[in-house]
Symmetry: D2
Subunit: 135 residues, 4 copies
């Protein structure tokens, strides 16, 4: 399987992604973009997207960017992830751009930026930094 197929196959098994309405936008070596609408079922108490929505797609985008640099047959697991939330997630949809910062043999350091898109404008709403391991 190509990298693209491996990731789409794994992604299709992440039922959480379907629950959030998330889809893979693009896959490249060390970079994966996932988008999700801000569904009425994904909100926090003030009507913005829940922190868990930005986290979930940011984490998956970061994780799959790590998978692109891991050996075939590997799956990826999040060791730890930190998110800074900079603005309420308000808009039509969220776009999570994940990337590999450093690919080690045992550990892959990753990052992701999450943007809220409203009309054609993008706002940077969250930033993630974390660690992935092959399993």
């Amino acid at each position: 399987m190509s990298i693209d197929e491996r990731i789409r196959d794994s992604f299709s098994k992440q039922t959480m992604m379907q629950t959030l309405g998330a889809t893979i936008d693009s896959v490249a070596s060390g970079q994966v973009v996932i988008t999700a609408p801000i569904l009425p079922t994904s909100l926090q108490q003030q009507g913005a997207g829940h922190a868990g929505l930005a986290f979930s797609i940011g984490d998956s985008a970061a994780g799959y960017s790590a998978l692109t640099v891991m050996p075939e047959g590997a799956e990826v697991m999040t060791v730890e992830m930190k998110i800074n939330l900079m603005s309420p997630a308000i808009g039509d949809r969220l776009i999570a751009e994940g990337r590999v910062v450093r690919a080690g043999r045992r550990i892959v350091v990753v990052a992701a930026d999450v943007f809220a898109e409203m009309g054609g404008a993008r706002k940077h709403v969250a930033m993630l930094q974390g660690t992935m391991i092959p399993v």
Copy 2:
């Protein structure tokens, strides 16, 4: 409204919590416990609970523990949150125990532990540490 009522009222507006099947287990000053089943709709690619599930209920438990020490009328927002995932989230349900570590005037430092319960046994699957502000 009592602290308990304020939190349950706010929680009922978090549609993300309903999507995840989460409920408030208990509310005390500086401590809130939230539980959620590991639904077939909340999984990662290997069939365990998605990192976003543990994050979402851990973040909400930590946030509401902060709200218990904030002035009436305040709402709480996550500034940042870090999660270490220690074991796959496998079992009947997850239990997120949030607590206030330090309540400042401008910032509340919080933590949460997430346990997976299977049968009667509990396993510590995730640990969160973060910062909340009143909004």
Copy 3:
């Protein structure tokens, strides 16, 4: 060598610890305590201990607590560490209590609390949560 000797031997090679005046207070399985005076050479711009002081001894205490559960001959390296600073580090000395939260084969999750001691009173000034690997 006993665990205690291995750690004291490794610690004696950390010249950064000597620069900060740090010493090992105690070593137990999964728990190491390191203390350091708040030296005139370790301050931030307002005269409190620098964030880097609390971080350095917290990181070393956490790392050595991980080393107590690793195989003999291993050395430990910090993969990542997050610190929340809750109060200015003011007082006679800092006490960093490191502990193992979860010892895995490939990764050890650790935490540390840092206290400032003034007179006989202790104040909780920082909290760390991180990941160590054997090298």
Copy 4:
């Protein structure tokens, strides 16, 4: 005072920076670069720079980048900081490039990259992401 003067004045009071041999390389709006040699007095047990060295100059570079966007008269304090350590800090000196990611009224989100320089080559050894507040 100009931004540059304010930061150099504050920096000169951070005795920890002098202990580590750190100097300010450049100051621009939202961006501050700090460098430090890897002194024999700043090492971990295997002879590389201690995690606390990369953290200290990364934290200061990030903090001063935040100060460039804060009102005159403000000082800056670290609320929290997370560091991923990607390679041992080996070389002639470390270079910490701090930057503002989002400047809010109450909170400034910052990041820093730390590079080790050996000969003319640079290696990315650490990445920090954190939160600053005016005090």
